[in-house]
Symmetry: D3
Subunit: 280 residues, 6 copies
Amino acid sequence: MFLPKLIDEDIVRWLKEDIPYWDVTTVLLPETKKESKARIIAKQEGIIAGLPIVKRIFEFAGVNFVAKIKEGDKVSKKTVIATVIGDIKSLLQIERIALNVLGRLSGIATTTDKMVALARKHNPNIKICATRKVIPGFAKYDKYAITIGGGDTHRFNLSDMVLIKENHLRFFDSVSEAIQIAKEKTSFSKKIEIEVQNEEQALEATKSAADIVMLDNFPPVQAKIVAKKIKEINKNILVELSGNITLENIESFPLQYVDLISSGSLTHSVRNFDLTMLIE
Amino acid sequence: MFLPKLIDEDIVRWLKEDIPYWDVTTVLLPETKKESKARIIAKQEGIIAGLPIVKRIFEFAGVNFVAKIKEGDKVSKKTVIATVIGDIKSLLQIERIALNVLGRLSGIATTTDKMVALARKHNPNIKICATRKVIPGFAKYDKYAITIGGGDTHRFNLSDMVLIKENHLRFFDSVSEAIQIAKEKTSFSKKIEIEVQNEEQALEATKSAADIVMLDNFPPVQAKIVAKKIKEINKNILVELSGNITLENIESFPLQYVDLISSGSLTHSVRNFDLTMLIE
Amino acid sequence: MFLPKLIDEDIVRWLKEDIPYWDVTTVLLPETKKESKARIIAKQEGIIAGLPIVKRIFEFAGVNFVAKIKEGDKVSKKTVIATVIGDIKSLLQIERIALNVLGRLSGIATTTDKMVALARKHNPNIKICATRKVIPGFAKYDKYAITIGGGDTHRFNLSDMVLIKENHLRFFDSVSEAIQIAKEKTSFSKKIEIEVQNEEQALEATKSAADIVMLDNFPPVQAKIVAKKIKEINKNILVELSGNITLENIESFPLQYVDLISSGSLTHSVRNFDLTMLIE
Amino acid sequence: MFLPKLIDEDIVRWLKEDIPYWDVTTVLLPETKKESKARIIAKQEGIIAGLPIVKRIFEFAGVNFVAKIKEGDKVSKKTVIATVIGDIKSLLQIERIALNVLGRLSGIATTTDKMVALARKHNPNIKICATRKVIPGFAKYDKYAITIGGGDTHRFNLSDMVLIKENHLRFFDSVSEAIQIAKEKTSFSKKIEIEVQNEEQALEATKSAADIVMLDNFPPVQAKIVAKKIKEINKNILVELSGNITLENIESFPLQYVDLISSGSLTHSVRNFDLTMLIE
Amino acid sequence: MFLPKLIDEDIVRWLKEDIPYWDVTTVLLPETKKESKARIIAKQEGIIAGLPIVKRIFEFAGVNFVAKIKEGDKVSKKTVIATVIGDIKSLLQIERIALNVLGRLSGIATTTDKMVALARKHNPNIKICATRKVIPGFAKYDKYAITIGGGDTHRFNLSDMVLIKENHLRFFDSVSEAIQIAKEKTSFSKKIEIEVQNEEQALEATKSAADIVMLDNFPPVQAKIVAKKIKEINKNILVELSGNITLENIESFPLQYVDLISSGSLTHSVRNFDLTMLIE
Amino acid sequence: MFLPKLIDEDIVRWLKEDIPYWDVTTVLLPETKKESKARIIAKQEGIIAGLPIVKRIFEFAGVNFVAKIKEGDKVSKKTVIATVIGDIKSLLQIERIALNVLGRLSGIATTTDKMVALARKHNPNIKICATRKVIPGFAKYDKYAITIGGGDTHRFNLSDMVLIKENHLRFFDSVSEAIQIAKEKTSFSKKIEIEVQNEEQALEATKSAADIVMLDNFPPVQAKIVAKKIKEINKNILVELSGNITLENIESFPLQYVDLISSGSLTHSVRNFDLTMLIE
């Protein structure tokens, strides 16, 4: 999915942060020609994401990396995820960065997968979407992990899609004016989404034919009513629900009436996937 | 704490990630000379961290930022954290990055503060420490948030302090040999810590006069016994407890017998601090 | 449109390329406290694009820049575009880079504007679109100039929209399979376009409900027939014509039957806009 | 000519611009172990420039590149320029950047070659020279293409040679003073050129022994007279003609009396070389 | 000691500085398939430092590098340090940068080694330390060369250790207050050193249990008296002497009474190690 | 001489090297609104170089810098070079980098000035030249300091001038062939220098009209004989002497017969200029 060499610039930055001069511990190890072998092992159940990136990190340090499972596989506790073989000093310098990446991305994928499973019990076509609430500088990888977990990236960034939010809307006379101007000024190649605060706005957006209407912080009951009305007017418009939806509360929302659920918690409050690396 | 211009390189990177070409939504807004004003408001209780960084982000976009509280203050729900005034287009382009930084750092500080408070009920001198389980590329800010929450950064990186872990130890004949070599080869300017797996190693490390002995994944009862023995031998040696210690379980550990508690969860499983920006 | 400080990284790169050590000519000038004033003057008729970028370049060198026209204005020969005032040594070091940017972007905007005018004589709603045939490293600015000339950027880059081209299609069983997979695997936030080589593919794409169907190198007569058929099946599908369409030959295409014309020549074979800077 | 790894920094920048997250189209292709093969084919006659750079771009993505012609060769329509073999997803992600580079550089080389041929009919020793009117950030490659087309780079940048232009001259009392100061203050390692506006200045520059005298925008007749006078005074001084000289009008200039013709159009108004990549 | 790929970013920067466009001399050489071989030869006696870095520089250019001695070996005049084999054009482009690095680092190591030898005649446990008086941008390599010469790096940078100097001290009420605050606010992972100007301060620092006390510019006689008093109070406190100590004058200091000697001259006034590269 | 903002990229790099996280010492200082003032004072006699760069460093940290002397002035011991006023924490973080730059550049300028003075006693027109034996990454500043000391930069880098050295010459049939090819293939904008090993080569180079002939490691007597012969044949050819010429031995060379002396020691074995910063 990523051209391997395009990840290198990030790897250099990550490693320079962790080794600004040199690793004062591994320099103490005796010189040896013998290669060391280690296994990366899951300490919990879940979905593994980030193998191609972690492979590149190990290779960056001259360490051979062999994945024992496939990207996106569900593993159980004690599953061997990968083996790595190489110079022990390189291996130990790179270990923490690699596990930090794998732990975060697998954590995101695991929670996404759970949320998808819960939501699809109610609506097999629903999509669980990320937001832009990612770690600055790490967005590409956070979004990637969402897809591995079965989720939808939503727009990557501000250049990707028009999304007229409440703070934009106050500078237009009306919802319909905002959508009208967006359609005139925006490239044909981009979709137009609008975030609405109430039923009136939602229906106006629908009539103006936005591509996606986001119901922002609607209580579940009202969300259901409005989503149905939108679909009755134009079934091609996608309806997105947003606002503090988490793994814990998702089933309280009218999942069978909407197309998209977006959840900031997937990336802004990640629960790290528990991993360890054991040297043999 | 940071030279403001040294943050800019990160800000550029974060913004280019989020605006690789241009923001296709804010370009739709009408031109106006009038400045807009917005307030950043807490939606939960906790410790705010990251104000100097967020100030720099807004100023980077030409937006004036005035903090209404001090870095590290404890706020309650609805507290106004800061006001920002400036061109609405700049403000809206920068909003998400700023809130992402402030939300993460305040989240880290808030949890750290809680963990410090819990631990100090038992031992007023104990330090709650971070680990290197941070987001790659974001370590400087994660570590900073720990200090604002009243925690200890632990070593910043691999160049900072010697920390001989289990994976290093297997390449030495003994704990004492490892410490001996570290003392010979390491700059006088650095401390030497060793991670041990059992009492025997712990006492050997103590006799070899490591600066810090880390009891790795010791059950609470054993941790207490070993910590006491270390202190009886040499009260100047710092004792660190480590291994899946979290806000939830910290009080089950023998806090009054140790100097340092390190917890990866402080940075690898952050709960974002809930914030919003409201335009007036 | 651009956050000014986000342009600086490019300006540094451009200037370091042109002044790797120092300017060996301006160091010869006598020291003076007196500021110099210069005017940037059009030597041809056309649309000016790039003023905000050029303003930033001059300001980068501490030179004051005052635009005398608005971005996107049509100027005639001898129009004063801007005045600049500042230290003569800074001004002369920066002059060439500034004019190179302004000349290229205004050249792109001028040709785009002409092509839009020609096409809209036949179809007032048609859009003239760029391609990805831009200068590597300069895409953001090339695309921007297209919009100033009244054109459509088309997708910014490969992360922006799905565009299934002939070289992709050979790896699918059929047009409809390709579109089906795209719809399943792609984020809801992105449109799906397909390039087709013949009528059969075009109609299959239409029935599969691609968002945009691009008729690649269709002869004008055939393009007209196919475009009409597409619209009869689904009037919401956008039809794009592509393949060596230039300012010279555009009127030979069935402009009233299609929505989009894309032309690589707008950015890959730019005619520079003729400008000069005169010191008073 | 270039150390291959020194091109990589540019390649990374070019690719990140075109793939800021990932290519949303090639991810749709089915996984395959089979390598794909493609040919890069000329669609017009001309000189090919840029093969070493394009080779490095393909190799950057792990694709094997075999040139079928030599750098600088003249090709005719349908000539196979190179074959590439590799993973189809990598190949398709890299294709556009590679063709953009090859198309621009071959376009520059082709026009340069034509202008050299025209000029040398009149003066076998004349040199066709580039200017600094290049694309910012792409100067190294633009200048390189000039040499492949048989032209002269002129100075690379402002650190390379002294060139006193009209805008500098106004800060000196006279042409001779300017040249005198340049000789005193400039490193022995650099040549000194001066741009003159009239015969008087030209002869003063000659007597002051500038290395090169550039006749700026002289009408052909006057250029001939002045060039002859310069050579009569000092045949070692090089005479350069400059000012809107293009492929179309070059033969109207007194080519047999001058040493150098410089033409901004070679790089600021490039006609792209038409190429295609066909997958087998 | 360094991950090889982490050196590459520096190599790119060094080479771009020396070859901003291309090497106009080596392009003149005839094409050849034949590889050239050269030897790098010492022209003086001393310690060689920098082989892993220089190896990486040559490999960066595709040139094979085989060290004939080990890093840190003492060589005599005419010793062959390494042989390099590869394309002559690459080899000649890279030669100067490689020799500049090897010459500086070996120069530092050679002087350090001499100073260590002199000092250890008087005190076999004394450490000769660098300072932060390095070349900006080259600190990592300067510090590394110190270790190869048998010296101590001292702190790498300002994030590494607390060092309270005279200019800091004036902002505290007393030496003991400064040390007290440092102990409270600083991470357990860092040592605390204080620079003192007189005996009174030195003893106060000793009683406050700073980890290291630096006697700044103390005359030898006084240094001896104060060092002895410090050790009598607390033998675990390290005593550092600093202030214009050089290879020439080091033996005039009371070396047997102190632990550490720091000398800025080791890195700020380096005598280059004389080397040459001969092509066979 | 430098555009101030073009220095910033280097300053950022230098500071990040010295403050990878934050300065753990200055964070201990109490907060104060009061600005601190300091003076930078010479502790030796010599030429000061680097003021514009150091000014930029202090301003980068928000500290006001006022030079009390002019760039290139000769100062005596205790001369106040500049005063700086600003926030004490910023000032102390930046101090060392600033002094490192000023110390090195003034050291280079001081030695250059001495060598120029010595040589001009014998030949008032002789130029003392640098070489490419600079610190990698610091070349621009090292070369700049040479000019402030009254020296000549020689070529900046490999793209600047042709210099055919012994290692190149072995790939040509003869000196004259090498020069002939250089004249054919090199841009008119560059000079051509050749390094020769004996009289025969020197005279052949002279007859081939190289711009500069460098006598490499010629003994003084032979250098004088050959230099005279070159000048008799063509007085316009510059003669350069090179090979271990230092401040100590320069007067033993035939200075009145040559134009240029180049000395690697000026930059590869710099004696730092002794400076201090005193806070008032």
